[in-house]
Amino acid sequence: MKIHEYQAKELLVRYGIPVPPGEMTDNPEEASEVAKSIGGGMWAIKAQIHAGGRGKSGGVRLARNLTEVSEHAKAILGMNLVTPQTGPEGQLVRKIYIESGVDIVREFYLGMVLDRSAEMPVLMLSPEGGMEIEKVAAETPDKIIKICVDPLIGLKKFHIFEAGCKLGLNKDEIKELYVFAKGLYDLYTGLDASIVEINPLVLTKEGRFIALDAKIVFDDNALFRHNEVADMRDFYEEEPAETEAGKYGLSYVKLDGNVGCMVNGAGLAMTTMDVIKLVGGEPANFLDVGGSASAETVAKGFEIILNDPNVKVIFVNIFGGIVRCDRIANGILEAIYGTEINIPIIVRLDGTNAPEALEILKKAGNPNIITSDRLSAGARLAVQLAAGGEK
């Protein structure tokens, strides 16, 4: 789960990490008042959306007086911000964060993620503050200092001392950096984050480290034990169909094609998309109705797929295991009974009791249901029909 910068900074403060004074608002009329109360002579007006790359796309602007604050706030709030990470459709800006300007001596990158190969959280430091870490990793990987932290041990002073020396920091600065990094590590482990990124991390004239920007992503599976974090969820930033699917335990990802897919199991669902592409089509979505599909999950799956106006045909690919195919076939019939589905549904069932299941579907006599016992043949037919071909 992602949160906004202003929320991330609230959490940083809670873990003793310094951030510049700032406040969120969604009212352009209030902006100059907010800036005034923050104080100082320069402010950054920052669009609050979940995607990165805001600065380059006009979502972060500097104001030198209160009139400019007000102008920028009016310009940014309500704009449709398109960044490299939002996709071409962009994201509507509903909130801004007004922050006091900071005198910067040096900028760094500081991040913490899970290193899947090392199976430990890894703290990453780089002198290239403000640059995307992926870019630094690709171009100048030597500049990234990585410190794997064993969660049974935790972050220690020596970890940071080593890194600080490499960055050319003096003893006092390293001490400051340790306090900062320790706070970050405690937040990462204490709140079950999966990504914490401070970019840039700035060193001020006073020799203090401050988080100028902050991105935090949380482990969805651990939200049950962090209600205060779960409450920060912003549904406006999510794809509504994906949120709706999640409520029913289904996993859905919207894509751009016209062949709707309903599959049991994540691996098979990805494979189904791949096969559709392989035979010349484009999947409209990823949808996993769960390893053991039931009539209820199948019904919900149809509903979600049909909300996408691009869908021209639905390809149901279910491998029946312990849940037998004949029961799934009846589930499909129940699910579409009484609904107005007037596009072709290709059903490919294999596994336990597959022949009986295909027989049930044929006997039902619904002209929209076409059965198949092979994955590639079913996919080919679906793609053909989506392109306007004959049955």
Binding site: L114, R116, S117, E119, M120, E134, A137, D150, P151, L152, T189, D192, S194, D219, N221, A222, F224, R225, S251, V253, L255, V263, N264, G265, A266, G267, L268, A269, M270, T271, M273, D274, V275, I276, K277, L278, P283, F286, D288, G291, F319, G320, G321, I322, D350, G351, T352, R374, L375, S376
Partner: protein, 292 residues
């Protein structure tokens, strides 16, 4: 022969009396798995599925001599269940539970390693040695005994692959679902090492997906040390970058994690890589002639 589990395995079920635990324990028993008891804290002393229920894994191990545990507890206590099993001396811990927080899985895996226990999963369908022991949620009827080892990150895709292998006239020595989470106990390499030593396994089918680099590590190992034919399938060739595809671990975070990159590296390591699971049968016939 087989790897890790067989007719000699003595299995307990953690989360025995819950809905999932009850249903799947029953299925395992019907398959012929030697389920010797189960654990549900607070229900010790009761009987369930004609077997004893214990309060703790330690009690269950002491009384039954169990060496394998099959875990069905909710995700919030999944990490603790793995740790409890390792603490009690269980040697093979099969964790079906999906949705365990990453940090919990991380600690649990480290502790299991310290105790010399092997963790399979979490978020996996389990492990099956056909006609001997089914320790998981897979449909046993799909898996015919044979000489192909199967290692997979996915559930239904494993059944799909097993079905194709069997339809082509081959069978399975052991099928191990290693799980789709970011942190998993047994990796492709771990399973490959075991299949290398197993005389009855003549060939291996590997099913991977986008995310992480376990398949890449496996390719390096296969190239250097593995001496049996390997076929592979990688799911997620059309998955968009940065989107999680169902499994917690199925997310492309860098160019290394894509299906295309993994397929390329596996091919370079001499692995027969196929585009669709239906090819397994044909490929097997071609690659491993005479092993059925």
């Amino acid at each position: 022969m087989s790897i890790l589990v067989g007719s000699g395995s003595k299995v307990i079920v953690q989360g025995f009396t819950g809905k999932e635990g009850t249903y799947h324990a029953q299925q395992c028993i019907e398959y012929g798995t030697n389920i010797v008891g189960g654990v549900t804290p607070g229900k010790g002393g009761e009987r369930h599925l004609d077997r004893k229920v214990f309060n703790t894994v330690k009690e269950a191990v002491t009384e039954t001599g169990a060496d394998v545990s099959l875990i069905f507890v909710p995700p919030s206590s999944g990490g603790d269940a793995i740790i409890e099993a390792a603490y009690a001396g269980i040697k093979i811990i099969v964790c079906i539970t999906e949705g365990i927080p990453v940090l919990d899985a991380l600690k649990a895996k480290k502790y299991a390693e310290m105790k010399g226990a092997r963790l399979i999963g979490p978020n996996c369908p389990g492990i099956i040695t056909p006609e001997e022991a089914k320790i998981g949620i897979m449909p046993g009827n799909i898996f015919t005994k044979g000489r192909v080892g199967l290692i997979s990150k996915s559930g239904t895709l494993t059944y799909e692959a097993a079905n194709q292998i069997v339809k082509a006239g081959f069978g399975i020595s052991t099928a191990i679902g290693i799980g789709g989470d970011q942190i998993i106990g047994t990796t492709f390499i771990d399973a490959l090492k075991l299949f290398k030593e197993d005389e009855k396994t003549k060939a291996v089918v590997l099913i991977g997906e986008i995310g992480g680099d376990l398949e890449v590590q496996a390719a390096e190992y296969i190239k250097k040390e593995f001496n049996k034919p390997v076929m592979a399938f990688i799911a997620g060739q059309t998955a968009p970058k940065g989107k999680r595809m169902g499994h917690a671990g199925a997310i492309i975070a860098s160019s290394k994690g894509t299906a295309g990159e993994k397929m390329k590296i596996l091919k370079n390591a001499g692995v027969a890589v196929c585009d669709i699971p239906e090819c397994f049968g044909e490929l097997l016939k071609k690659e491993f002639e005479g092993i059925a």
